[in-house]
Assembly symmetry: C2
Protein backbone atom coordinates (compact mmCIF):
# COMPACT_ATOMS: atom_id res chain seq x y z
CA UNK A 1 0.00 0.00 0.00
CA UNK A 2 1.36 3.39 -1.01
CA UNK A 3 2.36 5.68 1.86
CA UNK A 4 -0.44 8.21 1.37
CA UNK A 5 -3.06 5.44 1.30
CA UNK A 6 -1.50 3.72 4.30
CA UNK A 7 -1.64 6.95 6.28
CA UNK A 8 -5.36 7.46 5.56
CA UNK A 9 -6.08 3.78 6.09
CA UNK A 10 -4.28 3.84 9.44
CA UNK A 11 -6.07 7.01 10.53
CA UNK A 12 -9.45 5.31 9.97
CA UNK A 13 -8.39 2.27 12.02
CA UNK A 14 -7.10 4.55 14.76
CA UNK A 15 -10.40 6.46 14.87
CA UNK A 16 -12.38 3.21 14.99
CA UNK A 17 -10.21 1.60 17.65
CA UNK A 18 -10.10 4.69 19.91
CA UNK A 19 -13.88 4.39 20.34
CA UNK A 20 -13.41 1.23 22.38
CA UNK A 21 -16.26 -0.73 20.80
CA UNK A 22 -14.30 -3.99 20.80
CA UNK A 23 -15.25 -4.84 17.21
CA UNK A 24 -15.03 -3.27 13.73
CA UNK A 25 -11.63 -1.87 14.74
CA UNK A 26 -7.97 -2.84 14.43
CA UNK A 27 -8.96 -6.45 15.11
CA UNK A 28 -10.34 -6.51 11.52
CA UNK A 29 -6.95 -5.52 10.06
CA UNK A 30 -5.68 -9.10 9.56
CA UNK A 31 -8.72 -9.80 7.35
CA UNK A 32 -7.83 -6.87 5.11
CA UNK A 33 -4.18 -7.88 4.83
CA UNK A 34 -5.33 -11.37 3.93
CA UNK A 35 -7.54 -9.91 1.16
CA UNK A 36 -4.65 -7.80 -0.18
CA UNK A 37 -2.42 -10.88 -0.26
CA UNK A 38 -5.06 -12.98 -2.00
CA UNK A 39 -5.57 -10.23 -4.55
CA UNK A 40 -9.30 -9.96 -3.79
CA UNK A 41 -8.98 -6.31 -2.68
CA UNK A 42 -6.93 -3.54 -4.28
CA UNK A 43 -4.78 -1.74 -1.68
CA UNK A 44 -4.10 1.19 -4.03
CA UNK A 45 -7.37 1.88 -5.81
CA UNK A 46 -7.62 4.46 -8.57
CA UNK A 47 -10.92 5.94 -7.39
CA UNK A 48 -12.59 7.25 -10.55
CA UNK A 49 -15.34 9.82 -11.03
CA UNK A 50 -18.27 8.33 -12.94
CA UNK A 51 -20.75 11.19 -13.00
CA UNK A 52 -22.04 14.18 -11.09
CA UNK A 53 -23.99 17.41 -11.07
CA UNK A 54 -23.29 20.33 -8.74
CA UNK A 55 -23.93 18.89 -5.24
CA UNK A 56 -23.83 15.19 -6.15
CA UNK A 57 -21.02 12.97 -7.38
CA UNK A 58 -20.59 9.24 -8.03
CA UNK A 59 -17.32 7.28 -8.01
CA UNK A 60 -16.00 3.82 -8.80
CA UNK A 61 -13.85 2.52 -5.94
CA UNK A 62 -11.68 0.19 -8.08
CA UNK A 63 -12.30 -2.71 -5.63
CA UNK A 64 -10.39 -0.78 -2.97
CA UNK A 65 -10.77 -1.04 0.79
CA UNK A 66 -14.08 0.40 2.02
CA UNK A 67 -12.01 2.47 4.44
CA UNK A 68 -10.24 4.38 1.64
CA UNK A 69 -13.38 4.62 -0.51
CA UNK A 70 -15.54 5.93 2.35
CA UNK A 71 -12.90 8.36 3.56
CA UNK A 72 -12.69 9.68 0.00
CA UNK A 73 -16.43 10.21 -0.47
CA UNK A 74 -16.79 11.81 2.96
CA UNK A 75 -14.10 14.33 1.99
CA UNK A 76 -15.84 14.99 -1.34
CA UNK A 77 -19.26 15.39 0.29
CA UNK A 78 -17.73 17.80 2.82
CA UNK A 79 -16.28 19.89 -0.01
CA UNK A 80 -19.57 19.82 -1.95
CA UNK A 81 -21.48 20.88 1.19
CA UNK A 82 -19.26 23.96 1.57
CA UNK A 83 -20.28 25.15 -1.88
CA UNK A 84 -23.85 23.89 -2.11
CA UNK A 85 -25.07 23.63 1.51
CA UNK A 86 -25.48 19.89 1.08
CA UNK A 87 -23.25 17.37 -0.65
CA UNK A 88 -23.90 13.76 -1.56
CA UNK A 89 -21.29 11.36 -2.86
CA UNK A 90 -21.51 7.66 -3.72
CA UNK A 91 -18.92 4.99 -4.36
CA UNK A 92 -19.52 1.55 -5.87
CA UNK A 93 -17.03 -1.31 -6.37
CA UNK A 94 -15.96 -0.81 -2.74
CA UNK A 95 -15.59 -3.20 0.19
CA UNK A 96 -16.37 -3.34 3.93
CA UNK A 97 -16.03 0.15 5.44
CA UNK A 98 -15.45 -1.03 9.03
CA UNK A 99 -18.05 1.33 10.60
CA UNK A 100 -19.66 4.69 9.95
CA UNK A 101 -18.13 6.47 12.95
CA UNK A 102 -14.63 7.18 11.56
CA UNK A 103 -16.17 9.11 8.67
CA UNK A 104 -19.15 10.90 10.20
CA UNK A 105 -17.06 12.17 13.13
CA UNK A 106 -14.87 14.02 10.62
CA UNK A 107 -17.98 15.87 9.42
CA UNK A 108 -18.95 16.84 12.97
CA UNK A 109 -15.39 18.03 13.66
CA UNK A 110 -15.90 20.46 10.77
CA UNK A 111 -19.21 21.70 12.21
CA UNK A 112 -21.31 19.68 9.77
CA UNK A 113 -24.02 17.06 10.05
CA UNK A 114 -22.64 13.93 8.41
CA UNK A 115 -24.50 10.76 7.43
CA UNK A 116 -22.69 7.74 5.97
CA UNK A 117 -24.40 4.55 4.84
CA UNK A 118 -23.06 1.31 3.47
CA UNK A 119 -24.34 -1.81 1.86
CA UNK A 120 -23.39 -5.04 3.50
CA UNK A 121 -23.61 -8.55 2.09
CA UNK A 122 -27.10 -10.03 2.57
CA UNK A 123 -27.43 -11.07 6.24
CA UNK A 124 -30.91 -9.83 7.10
CA UNK A 125 -34.31 -11.30 6.35
CA UNK A 126 -37.71 -11.22 7.95
CA UNK A 127 -39.30 -13.33 10.70
CA UNK A 128 -40.79 -16.51 9.28
CA UNK A 129 -38.47 -16.57 6.27
CA UNK A 130 -35.13 -18.37 6.29
CA UNK A 131 -33.46 -16.37 3.51
CA UNK A 132 -30.76 -13.73 3.87
CA UNK A 133 -32.42 -11.14 1.66
CA UNK A 134 -30.62 -7.81 2.02
CA UNK A 135 -27.80 -6.13 3.92
CA UNK A 136 -28.33 -5.02 7.50
CA UNK A 137 -28.00 -1.37 6.49
CA UNK A 138 -24.95 -0.10 8.37
CA UNK A 139 -25.35 3.63 8.86
CA UNK A 140 -24.26 6.41 11.14
CA UNK A 141 -24.52 10.11 11.69
CA UNK A 142 -22.70 12.72 13.71
CA UNK A 143 -23.63 16.26 14.64
CA UNK A 144 -21.55 18.89 16.44
CA UNK A 145 -22.55 20.09 19.91
CA UNK A 146 -21.28 22.49 22.58
CA UNK A 147 -21.01 19.56 25.00
CA UNK A 148 -17.45 18.61 24.09
CA UNK A 149 -18.50 15.50 22.15
CA UNK A 150 -20.56 15.00 18.99
CA UNK A 151 -23.90 13.20 18.99
CA UNK A 152 -22.84 10.13 17.04
CA UNK A 153 -24.83 7.04 16.13
CA UNK A 154 -23.24 4.03 14.44
CA UNK A 155 -25.64 1.11 13.95
CA UNK A 156 -27.04 -1.46 11.62
CA UNK A 157 -30.82 -1.83 11.29
CA UNK A 158 -30.83 -5.47 12.42
CA UNK A 159 -31.20 -6.02 16.17
CA UNK A 160 -27.55 -7.06 16.18
CA UNK A 161 -24.69 -7.14 13.70
CA UNK A 162 -22.98 -10.45 12.96
CA UNK A 163 -19.98 -9.07 14.89
CA UNK A 164 -22.09 -8.60 18.01
CA UNK A 165 -23.82 -11.95 17.52
CA UNK A 166 -20.48 -13.69 17.16
CA UNK A 167 -19.18 -12.15 20.38
CA UNK A 168 -22.38 -13.16 22.20
CA UNK A 169 -22.13 -16.70 20.83
CA UNK A 170 -18.53 -16.93 22.03
CA UNK A 171 -19.63 -15.79 25.49
CA UNK A 172 -22.35 -18.46 25.51
CA UNK A 173 -25.10 -15.83 25.75
CA UNK A 174 -28.68 -16.18 24.50
CA UNK A 175 -30.49 -13.45 22.57
CA UNK A 176 -34.17 -12.46 22.34
CA UNK A 177 -36.10 -14.56 19.82
CA UNK A 178 -36.88 -11.36 17.89
CA UNK A 179 -33.24 -11.03 16.84
CA UNK A 180 -33.01 -13.78 14.25
CA UNK A 181 -33.77 -17.29 13.12
CA UNK A 182 -32.44 -20.35 11.33
CA UNK A 183 -32.44 -21.07 7.61
CA UNK A 184 -35.94 -22.58 7.87
CA UNK A 185 -37.43 -19.34 9.23
CA UNK A 186 -37.70 -20.59 12.82
CA UNK A 187 -36.79 -17.95 15.43
CA UNK A 188 -33.91 -18.79 17.75
CA UNK A 189 -32.33 -17.55 20.97
CA UNK A 190 -28.94 -19.02 20.04
CA UNK A 191 -26.80 -16.36 18.34
CA UNK A 192 -24.60 -18.99 16.66
CA UNK A 193 -27.65 -20.35 14.82
CA UNK A 194 -28.06 -16.89 13.26
CA UNK A 195 -24.42 -16.47 12.26
CA UNK A 196 -23.98 -20.07 11.04
CA UNK A 197 -26.31 -20.00 8.06
CA UNK A 198 -29.26 -18.30 9.76
CA UNK A 199 -30.79 -14.87 9.30
CA UNK A 200 -30.75 -11.70 11.40
CA UNK A 201 -34.04 -9.87 11.79
CA UNK A 202 -34.60 -6.12 11.37
CA UNK A 203 -35.49 -3.77 14.24
CA UNK A 204 -39.26 -3.34 14.34
CA UNK A 205 -39.70 -6.05 11.67
CA UNK A 206 -41.13 -4.32 8.55
CA UNK A 207 -39.83 -0.93 9.77
CA UNK A 208 -36.20 -2.00 9.95
CA UNK A 209 -36.63 -4.01 6.75
CA UNK A 210 -37.88 -0.87 4.99
CA UNK A 211 -34.95 1.12 6.37
CA UNK A 212 -32.65 -1.63 5.10
CA UNK A 213 -34.20 -1.24 1.64
CA UNK A 214 -33.61 2.52 1.88
CA UNK A 215 -29.93 1.90 2.64
CA UNK A 216 -29.69 -0.52 -0.33
CA UNK A 217 -31.29 2.13 -2.57
CA UNK A 218 -29.18 5.05 -1.27
CA UNK A 219 -25.97 3.04 -1.63
CA UNK A 220 -26.12 0.15 -4.11
CA UNK A 221 -28.82 1.50 -6.45
CA UNK A 222 -27.72 5.14 -6.42
CA UNK A 223 -24.05 4.19 -6.82
CA UNK A 224 -24.87 1.86 -9.71
CA UNK A 225 -23.41 -1.12 -7.82
CA UNK A 226 -24.89 -4.48 -6.87
CA UNK A 227 -28.05 -4.73 -4.75
CA UNK A 228 -29.28 -7.55 -2.48
CA UNK A 229 -27.46 -10.76 -3.51
CA UNK A 230 -26.13 -9.37 -6.78
CA UNK A 231 -22.40 -9.47 -7.56
CA UNK A 232 -20.16 -6.88 -9.20
CA UNK A 233 -19.64 -7.68 -12.90
CA UNK A 234 -15.93 -6.75 -12.70
CA UNK A 235 -15.27 -9.12 -9.78
CA UNK A 236 -16.51 -12.67 -10.32
CA UNK A 237 -14.83 -13.58 -6.99
CA UNK A 238 -17.63 -11.71 -5.19
CA UNK A 239 -15.53 -8.78 -4.00
CA UNK A 240 -16.43 -5.12 -4.53
CA UNK A 241 -20.13 -5.68 -3.78
CA UNK A 242 -20.21 -2.86 -1.23
CA UNK A 243 -21.25 0.66 -2.06
CA UNK A 244 -21.16 3.60 0.34
CA UNK A 245 -22.86 6.98 0.33
CA UNK A 246 -21.90 10.09 2.28
CA UNK A 247 -24.32 12.95 2.84
CA UNK A 248 -22.96 16.10 4.45
CA UNK A 249 -25.03 19.11 5.42
CA UNK A 250 -23.34 22.44 6.15
CA UNK A 251 -25.68 24.09 8.69
CA UNK A 252 -24.07 27.51 8.26
CA UNK A 253 -25.92 27.68 4.96
CA UNK A 254 -29.10 28.04 7.04
CA UNK A 255 -27.99 29.70 10.30
CA UNK A 256 -24.85 30.77 12.15
CA UNK A 257 -22.69 27.71 12.92
CA UNK A 258 -23.00 28.30 16.68
CA UNK A 259 -26.81 28.36 16.44
CA UNK A 260 -26.90 24.83 15.03
CA UNK A 261 -24.51 23.56 17.71
CA UNK A 262 -26.70 25.25 20.32
CA UNK A 263 -29.84 23.53 18.96
CA UNK A 264 -28.26 20.08 19.01
CA UNK A 265 -26.94 20.77 22.52
CA UNK A 266 -30.41 21.89 23.61
CA UNK A 267 -31.82 18.60 22.31
CA UNK A 268 -29.43 16.41 24.30
CA UNK A 269 -29.74 18.65 27.37
CA UNK A 270 -33.55 18.41 27.27
CA UNK A 271 -33.27 14.62 27.12
CA UNK A 272 -30.58 14.35 29.82
CA UNK A 273 -32.23 16.66 32.34
CA UNK A 274 -35.40 14.55 32.31
CA UNK A 275 -33.72 11.18 31.89
CA UNK A 276 -30.15 11.20 33.21
CA UNK A 277 -29.92 7.42 32.78
CA UNK A 278 -30.63 7.53 29.03
CA UNK A 279 -27.35 7.36 27.15
CA UNK A 280 -26.73 9.99 24.49
CA UNK A 281 -25.17 8.19 21.51
CA UNK A 282 -21.54 9.16 20.99
CA UNK A 283 -20.86 10.23 24.56
CA UNK A 284 -19.30 7.12 26.05
CA UNK A 285 -17.22 6.31 22.96
CA UNK A 286 -15.92 9.89 22.98
CA UNK A 287 -15.01 9.55 26.67
CA UNK A 288 -13.16 6.32 25.86
CA UNK A 289 -11.19 8.13 23.18
CA UNK A 290 -10.34 11.05 25.47
CA UNK A 291 -9.11 8.60 28.10
CA UNK A 292 -6.96 6.76 25.57
CA UNK A 293 -5.43 10.01 24.34
CA UNK A 294 -4.76 11.15 27.92
CA UNK A 295 -3.23 7.82 28.92
CA UNK A 296 -1.46 7.44 25.57
CA UNK A 297 -2.75 3.86 25.59
CA UNK A 298 -5.37 1.76 23.84
CA UNK A 299 -6.65 -1.38 25.56
CA UNK A 300 -6.77 -4.38 23.24
CA UNK A 301 -7.44 -8.06 23.90
CA UNK A 302 -4.23 -10.08 24.24
CA UNK A 303 -5.19 -12.31 21.26
CA UNK A 304 -5.61 -9.27 18.98
CA UNK A 305 -2.20 -7.93 19.98
CA UNK A 306 -0.67 -11.36 19.38
CA UNK A 307 -2.26 -11.66 15.96
CA UNK A 308 -1.18 -8.15 14.93
CA UNK A 309 2.36 -8.71 16.18
CA UNK A 310 2.65 -11.96 14.24
CA UNK A 311 1.56 -10.05 11.14
CA UNK A 312 4.05 -7.27 11.94
CA UNK A 313 6.93 -9.70 12.21
CA UNK A 314 5.92 -11.30 8.91
CA UNK A 315 5.79 -7.84 7.27
CA UNK A 316 9.12 -6.79 8.78
CA UNK A 317 7.66 -3.91 10.83
CA UNK A 318 8.10 -3.30 14.54
CA UNK A 319 5.71 -5.36 16.72
CA UNK A 320 3.87 -3.75 19.68
CA UNK A 321 5.15 -6.24 22.27
CA UNK A 322 8.63 -7.66 22.28
CA UNK B 1 -58.73 28.84 3.40
CA UNK B 2 -57.92 30.42 0.07
CA UNK B 3 -58.81 28.38 -3.02
CA UNK B 4 -55.22 27.61 -4.07
CA UNK B 5 -54.34 26.43 -0.55
CA UNK B 6 -57.54 24.41 -0.29
CA UNK B 7 -56.75 22.66 -3.55
CA UNK B 8 -53.25 21.64 -2.39
CA UNK B 9 -54.55 20.75 1.08
CA UNK B 10 -57.29 18.58 -0.44
CA UNK B 11 -54.85 16.89 -2.80
CA UNK B 12 -52.68 15.80 0.16
CA UNK B 13 -55.71 14.38 2.01
CA UNK B 14 -56.79 12.57 -1.14
CA UNK B 15 -53.33 11.03 -1.58
CA UNK B 16 -53.26 9.96 2.08
CA UNK B 17 -56.77 8.52 2.06
CA UNK B 18 -56.35 6.63 -1.22
CA UNK B 19 -53.62 4.54 0.43
CA UNK B 20 -56.24 2.86 2.62
CA UNK B 21 -54.21 2.93 5.85
CA UNK B 22 -57.27 3.77 7.96
CA UNK B 23 -55.45 6.52 9.91
CA UNK B 24 -53.56 9.74 9.19
CA UNK B 25 -56.04 10.39 6.38
CA UNK B 26 -59.28 12.30 5.86
CA UNK B 27 -60.39 11.18 9.33
CA UNK B 28 -57.92 13.76 10.73
CA UNK B 29 -59.59 16.61 8.82
CA UNK B 30 -62.04 17.56 11.62
CA UNK B 31 -59.04 18.14 13.94
CA UNK B 32 -57.54 20.60 11.47
CA UNK B 33 -60.82 22.49 11.00
CA UNK B 34 -61.12 22.69 14.79
CA UNK B 35 -57.61 24.20 14.96
CA UNK B 36 -58.43 26.74 12.23
CA UNK B 37 -61.58 27.75 14.13
CA UNK B 38 -59.72 28.08 17.43
CA UNK B 39 -57.06 30.16 15.73
CA UNK B 40 -54.26 27.80 16.78
CA UNK B 41 -53.31 27.04 13.15
CA UNK B 42 -53.07 29.45 10.23
CA UNK B 43 -55.02 28.13 7.20
CA UNK B 44 -53.33 30.60 4.84
CA UNK B 45 -49.69 30.72 5.90
CA UNK B 46 -47.24 33.14 4.31
CA UNK B 47 -44.39 30.63 4.01
CA UNK B 48 -41.25 32.73 4.18
CA UNK B 49 -37.68 31.99 3.09
CA UNK B 50 -35.25 32.34 6.00
CA UNK B 51 -31.95 31.35 4.44
CA UNK B 52 -30.31 29.13 1.86
CA UNK B 53 -27.31 28.32 -0.27
CA UNK B 54 -27.47 26.60 -3.66
CA UNK B 55 -28.98 23.14 -2.91
CA UNK B 56 -30.37 23.93 0.57
CA UNK B 57 -33.14 26.24 1.73
CA UNK B 58 -34.90 26.94 5.03
CA UNK B 59 -38.41 28.35 5.47
CA UNK B 60 -40.74 29.58 8.22
CA UNK B 61 -44.17 27.95 7.90
CA UNK B 62 -46.10 30.78 9.60
CA UNK B 63 -47.86 28.25 11.89
CA UNK B 64 -49.60 26.81 8.85
CA UNK B 65 -50.87 23.25 8.38
CA UNK B 66 -48.06 20.70 8.14
CA UNK B 67 -49.72 19.51 4.94
CA UNK B 68 -49.18 22.85 3.15
CA UNK B 69 -45.72 23.37 4.66
CA UNK B 70 -44.52 19.87 3.71
CA UNK B 71 -46.02 20.05 0.24
CA UNK B 72 -44.19 23.34 -0.24
CA UNK B 73 -40.77 22.08 0.86
CA UNK B 74 -41.12 18.90 -1.19
CA UNK B 75 -41.76 21.03 -4.28
CA UNK B 76 -38.77 23.24 -3.45
CA UNK B 77 -36.48 20.24 -2.81
CA UNK B 78 -37.61 18.73 -6.14
CA UNK B 79 -36.73 21.97 -7.95
CA UNK B 80 -33.35 22.19 -6.16
CA UNK B 81 -32.57 18.57 -7.04
CA UNK B 82 -33.13 19.28 -10.75
CA UNK B 83 -30.42 21.94 -10.65
CA UNK B 84 -28.01 20.49 -8.08
CA UNK B 85 -28.59 16.72 -8.17
CA UNK B 86 -29.77 16.83 -4.56
CA UNK B 87 -32.03 19.33 -2.82
CA UNK B 88 -32.76 19.76 0.88
CA UNK B 89 -35.42 22.05 2.25
CA UNK B 90 -36.57 22.64 5.85
CA UNK B 91 -39.60 24.32 7.35
CA UNK B 92 -40.07 25.33 11.00
CA UNK B 93 -43.17 26.81 12.66
CA UNK B 94 -45.22 24.07 11.01
CA UNK B 95 -47.75 21.57 12.34
CA UNK B 96 -48.65 17.88 11.95
CA UNK B 97 -47.94 16.76 8.36
CA UNK B 98 -50.35 13.78 8.39
CA UNK B 99 -47.83 11.28 6.96
CA UNK B 100 -44.77 11.20 4.75
CA UNK B 101 -46.36 9.26 1.90
CA UNK B 102 -48.30 12.09 0.19
CA UNK B 103 -45.05 14.02 -0.29
CA UNK B 104 -42.47 11.33 -1.04
CA UNK B 105 -44.72 9.70 -3.64
CA UNK B 106 -44.65 12.97 -5.61
CA UNK B 107 -40.86 12.69 -5.77
CA UNK B 108 -41.04 9.09 -7.03
CA UNK B 109 -43.63 10.11 -9.65
CA UNK B 110 -40.99 12.50 -11.00
CA UNK B 111 -38.36 9.77 -11.10
CA UNK B 112 -36.62 10.96 -7.94
CA UNK B 113 -35.74 9.42 -4.60
CA UNK B 114 -37.62 11.44 -1.98
CA UNK B 115 -37.16 11.40 1.79
CA UNK B 116 -39.41 13.45 4.10
CA UNK B 117 -39.00 13.63 7.87
CA UNK B 118 -41.02 15.38 10.55
CA UNK B 119 -40.74 16.17 14.18
CA UNK B 120 -43.61 15.05 16.34
CA UNK B 121 -44.47 16.12 19.86
CA UNK B 122 -42.51 14.09 22.44
CA UNK B 123 -44.17 10.65 22.69
CA UNK B 124 -41.14 8.35 22.76
CA UNK B 125 -38.79 7.45 25.57
CA UNK B 126 -36.66 4.49 26.49
CA UNK B 127 -37.40 1.27 28.37
CA UNK B 128 -37.07 1.81 32.12
CA UNK B 129 -37.78 5.53 31.93
CA UNK B 130 -41.29 7.00 32.21
CA UNK B 131 -40.63 10.26 30.40
CA UNK B 132 -41.76 11.20 26.90
CA UNK B 133 -38.40 12.50 25.71
CA UNK B 134 -38.48 13.04 21.95
CA UNK B 135 -40.73 12.66 18.94
CA UNK B 136 -41.22 9.25 17.37
CA UNK B 137 -39.45 10.40 14.21
CA UNK B 138 -42.06 10.12 11.45
CA UNK B 139 -40.26 9.59 8.17
CA UNK B 140 -40.78 8.12 4.76
CA UNK B 141 -39.12 7.59 1.45
CA UNK B 142 -40.19 6.65 -2.05
CA UNK B 143 -38.21 5.49 -5.06
CA UNK B 144 -39.40 4.88 -8.62
CA UNK B 145 -39.42 1.36 -10.07
CA UNK B 146 -40.41 -0.41 -13.29
CA UNK B 147 -42.90 -2.50 -11.31
CA UNK B 148 -45.82 -0.09 -11.67
CA UNK B 149 -45.63 1.09 -8.06
CA UNK B 150 -42.95 2.96 -6.10
CA UNK B 151 -41.08 1.41 -3.19
CA UNK B 152 -42.56 3.56 -0.42
CA UNK B 153 -41.99 3.40 3.32
CA UNK B 154 -43.96 5.56 5.77
CA UNK B 155 -43.15 4.85 9.41
CA UNK B 156 -42.26 6.25 12.78
CA UNK B 157 -39.26 4.83 14.65
CA UNK B 158 -41.32 3.73 17.66
CA UNK B 159 -42.75 0.20 17.47
CA UNK B 160 -46.16 1.82 16.97
CA UNK B 161 -47.52 5.32 16.47
CA UNK B 162 -50.10 6.67 18.91
CA UNK B 163 -52.64 6.33 16.08
CA UNK B 164 -51.96 2.61 15.79
CA UNK B 165 -51.87 2.17 19.58
CA UNK B 166 -55.21 3.98 19.91
CA UNK B 167 -56.81 1.72 17.31
CA UNK B 168 -55.41 -1.38 19.05
CA UNK B 169 -56.67 -0.13 22.42
CA UNK B 170 -60.13 0.42 20.94
CA UNK B 171 -60.10 -3.14 19.58
CA UNK B 172 -59.13 -4.46 23.03
CA UNK B 173 -55.83 -5.82 21.73
CA UNK B 174 -52.61 -6.33 23.70
CA UNK B 175 -49.18 -5.35 22.41
CA UNK B 176 -45.68 -6.78 23.01
CA UNK B 177 -44.10 -5.45 26.22
CA UNK B 178 -41.28 -4.00 24.10
CA UNK B 179 -43.65 -1.42 22.59
CA UNK B 180 -44.04 0.92 25.54
CA UNK B 181 -44.56 1.53 29.22
CA UNK B 182 -46.31 3.63 31.83
CA UNK B 183 -45.17 6.94 33.29
CA UNK B 184 -43.13 5.10 35.93
CA UNK B 185 -41.04 3.29 33.33
CA UNK B 186 -42.78 -0.06 33.75
CA UNK B 187 -43.33 -1.92 30.47
CA UNK B 188 -46.95 -2.72 29.58
CA UNK B 189 -48.91 -4.86 27.15
CA UNK B 190 -51.94 -2.53 27.34
CA UNK B 191 -51.79 0.00 24.49
CA UNK B 192 -54.07 2.44 26.35
CA UNK B 193 -51.50 2.69 29.17
CA UNK B 194 -49.01 3.97 26.58
CA UNK B 195 -51.35 6.51 25.00
CA UNK B 196 -52.85 7.71 28.32
CA UNK B 197 -49.79 9.32 29.83
CA UNK B 198 -47.32 6.53 29.08
CA UNK B 199 -44.38 6.32 26.73
CA UNK B 200 -43.80 4.54 23.41
CA UNK B 201 -40.49 2.75 22.98
CA UNK B 202 -38.20 2.95 19.95
CA UNK B 203 -37.56 0.04 17.58
CA UNK B 204 -34.38 -1.73 18.68
CA UNK B 205 -34.18 0.40 21.85
CA UNK B 206 -31.04 2.59 21.52
CA UNK B 207 -31.04 2.15 17.73
CA UNK B 208 -34.51 3.60 17.22
CA UNK B 209 -33.81 6.22 19.88
CA UNK B 210 -30.70 7.30 17.99
CA UNK B 211 -32.70 7.43 14.74
CA UNK B 212 -35.29 9.55 16.58
CA UNK B 213 -32.50 11.95 17.59
CA UNK B 214 -31.37 12.08 13.94
CA UNK B 215 -34.91 13.04 12.89
CA UNK B 216 -35.02 15.75 15.60
CA UNK B 217 -31.67 17.09 14.36
CA UNK B 218 -32.56 16.94 10.64
CA UNK B 219 -35.89 18.66 11.27
CA UNK B 220 -36.08 20.76 14.45
CA UNK B 221 -32.40 21.65 14.83
CA UNK B 222 -31.66 22.20 11.12
CA UNK B 223 -34.88 24.19 10.62
CA UNK B 224 -34.13 26.35 13.68
CA UNK B 225 -37.38 25.25 15.33
CA UNK B 226 -38.09 23.65 18.70
CA UNK B 227 -36.49 20.34 19.70
CA UNK B 228 -37.66 17.69 22.21
CA UNK B 229 -40.17 19.36 24.59
CA UNK B 230 -39.33 22.91 23.53
CA UNK B 231 -42.07 25.27 22.32
CA UNK B 232 -42.05 27.79 19.49
CA UNK B 233 -41.38 31.32 20.81
CA UNK B 234 -44.01 32.83 18.50
CA UNK B 235 -46.75 30.47 19.70
CA UNK B 236 -47.16 30.30 23.48
CA UNK B 237 -50.21 28.06 22.90
CA UNK B 238 -47.83 25.26 21.94
CA UNK B 239 -48.65 25.22 18.22
CA UNK B 240 -46.08 25.36 15.44
CA UNK B 241 -43.65 23.01 17.21
CA UNK B 242 -43.32 20.77 14.17
CA UNK B 243 -40.58 21.12 11.61
CA UNK B 244 -40.27 19.08 8.44
CA UNK B 245 -37.39 18.40 6.09
CA UNK B 246 -37.53 17.16 2.51
CA UNK B 247 -34.51 15.63 0.78
CA UNK B 248 -34.82 14.87 -2.92
CA UNK B 249 -32.18 13.14 -5.01
CA UNK B 250 -32.31 13.33 -8.81
CA UNK B 251 -30.71 10.06 -9.92
CA UNK B 252 -30.30 11.24 -13.51
CA UNK B 253 -27.42 13.36 -12.20
CA UNK B 254 -25.54 10.07 -11.74
CA UNK B 255 -26.97 7.70 -14.36
CA UNK B 256 -29.73 7.50 -16.98
CA UNK B 257 -33.14 7.70 -15.24
CA UNK B 258 -34.10 4.24 -16.49
CA UNK B 259 -30.93 2.73 -15.00
CA UNK B 260 -31.89 3.87 -11.50
CA UNK B 261 -35.42 2.50 -11.89
CA UNK B 262 -33.94 -0.76 -13.12
CA UNK B 263 -31.64 -1.00 -10.07
CA UNK B 264 -34.50 -0.42 -7.61
CA UNK B 265 -36.62 -2.93 -9.51
CA UNK B 266 -33.76 -5.45 -9.41
CA UNK B 267 -33.60 -5.00 -5.62
CA UNK B 268 -37.28 -5.76 -5.04
CA UNK B 269 -37.24 -8.58 -7.60
CA UNK B 270 -34.24 -10.21 -5.89
CA UNK B 271 -36.12 -10.04 -2.57
CA UNK B 272 -39.44 -11.23 -3.97
CA UNK B 273 -38.08 -14.17 -5.95
CA UNK B 274 -36.46 -15.62 -2.81
CA UNK B 275 -39.18 -14.57 -0.36
CA UNK B 276 -42.55 -14.15 -2.09
CA UNK B 277 -44.26 -13.73 1.31
CA UNK B 278 -42.18 -10.70 2.31
CA UNK B 279 -44.14 -7.54 1.57
CA UNK B 280 -42.41 -4.83 -0.42
CA UNK B 281 -43.31 -1.51 1.23
CA UNK B 282 -45.59 0.61 -0.95
CA UNK B 283 -47.03 -2.24 -2.96
CA UNK B 284 -50.28 -2.94 -1.13
CA UNK B 285 -51.11 0.74 -0.55
CA UNK B 286 -50.54 1.38 -4.26
CA UNK B 287 -52.87 -1.51 -5.13
CA UNK B 288 -55.50 -0.02 -2.81
CA UNK B 289 -55.21 3.30 -4.61
CA UNK B 290 -55.47 1.70 -8.05
CA UNK B 291 -58.60 -0.15 -6.93
CA UNK B 292 -60.17 3.05 -5.57
CA UNK B 293 -59.45 4.91 -8.80
CA UNK B 294 -60.87 2.03 -10.88
CA UNK B 295 -63.99 1.74 -8.73
CA UNK B 296 -64.26 5.53 -8.35
CA UNK B 297 -64.86 4.87 -4.64
CA UNK B 298 -63.00 5.20 -1.35
CA UNK B 299 -64.06 3.01 1.56
CA UNK B 300 -64.42 4.98 4.80
CA UNK B 301 -65.81 4.01 8.21
CA UNK B 302 -69.44 5.11 8.66
CA UNK B 303 -68.50 7.29 11.68
CA UNK B 304 -65.90 9.19 9.65
CA UNK B 305 -68.42 9.87 6.87
CA UNK B 306 -70.96 11.02 9.48
CA UNK B 307 -68.48 13.37 11.13
CA UNK B 308 -67.35 14.84 7.80
CA UNK B 309 -70.94 15.30 6.62
CA UNK B 310 -71.87 17.10 9.84
CA UNK B 311 -68.91 19.42 9.25
CA UNK B 312 -69.95 19.89 5.61
CA UNK B 313 -73.47 20.87 6.58
CA UNK B 314 -72.08 23.35 9.14
CA UNK B 315 -69.77 24.84 6.47
CA UNK B 316 -72.55 25.02 3.88
CA UNK B 317 -70.90 22.60 1.45
CA UNK B 318 -72.42 19.49 -0.10
CA UNK B 319 -72.31 16.43 2.19
CA UNK B 320 -71.27 13.00 0.84
CA UNK B 321 -74.46 11.22 1.99
CA UNK B 322 -77.91 12.76 1.92
Amino acid sequence: MEAANAERFGAIYLRATLRGQGHHDVSDLPLRIQAFRRGTMNPNPAIRRLAGRAAIEGYDGDNGPGELCSDFILARALALAQDHGVGLCTVSNSNHFLAAAPYVEQAAERGCLGIVLSRSKPVMGMPGCGERLIGNGPLGFAAPTEAGYPVLLDICVAYASFGTLGALAEAGARVPATWGGDSQGVATTDPSVITDGGVSYPIGEHKGFGLGLLVEILTGALAGGPVADGIHPANPDGSGVHSQTAIVIQPDALMPAHAFRAKVTELIDRVSVRAPAVRIPGRSSFDTRERAVRDDAIWLPREVVGELDALAVGLGVEPMCV
